[in-house]
Symmetry: C2
Subunit: 137 residues, 2 copies
């Protein structure tokens, strides 16, 4: 099963390369990979603590700490959920939104030399293939 094995290696290598770029760009903005993921989710919508933890595969206590530090930096806020008194909703501040946009741009620039090696057709192919592979089971 060499074809699938090559795909495995290619996926893993790419993962480490892209993760390296994200770690570096994130680090330049004092953001860990995990914080980047949290902000990436909250960029589009607000979410509850447990929801974030489950989506990222982390313990809720870990998420609590991550939110603590990001909140202390003024990147996001905690709010009450009107429907359920136990729930804590988390959402971005304007400063957080601004930061995540900036980091997104920097990541785009950092990966441009790599994606730039592909012509438009190849880019399209890559997107389609990755969409298939990255969809959760």
């Amino acid at each position: 099963m060499t074809a699938a094995d090559d795909a495995l290696d290619a996926l893993v290598r790419t993962t480490f390369e892209v993760a390296g770029v994200l770690t570096r760009v994130g680090g330049e903005n004092d953001l860990s990979l995990t914080q980047l993921r949290v902000l990436g989710i909250l960029r589009d919508r607000r979410a509850r603590v447990t929801e974030l933890a489950a989506y990222l595969g982390l313990d809720k206590s870990t998420m609590s700490g991550l939110i603590d530090r990001a909140q202390r930096r003024g990147l996001l806020m905690r709010g009450k959920n009107p429907d359920d008194g136990r729930v804590v909703d988390v959402y971005m501040t304007p400063a957080g939104l601004e930061l995540v946009e900036r980091v997104h741009d920097e990541v785009r620039r950092a990966l441009a030399p790599r994606t730039g090696r592909l012509d438009p057709d190849q880019l399209d192919q890559l997107v389609n293939l990755l969409e298939i592979v990255s969809t959760r089971p």
Copy 2:
């Protein structure tokens, strides 16, 4: 530049998905993502401490600690370099090799449901595209 932007998102999403799988499988074997990378390199060849640190983008002191813990677990060893008395060579033990093979198999199985969605032609395309993108600048 929507095409490149889609590619960016697809790459990042795939990165997090694959990293999640690696983190989970690694964790089931008490290995962090970084340890997995170290073992992945040493699987094929021995390497010096600084070389490992540079390749993974980590401080040499971080690498020293990683090696410490892996060595304490019996996964790898430190040895003298005959050509340069300052250098410490790092290489796998049989137990380390066995573990990395097992983890590799588990990762293959864990990703199979995803790669299995692609037919042989698509797998081939994906490998080629990822090789282009993941090559270092």
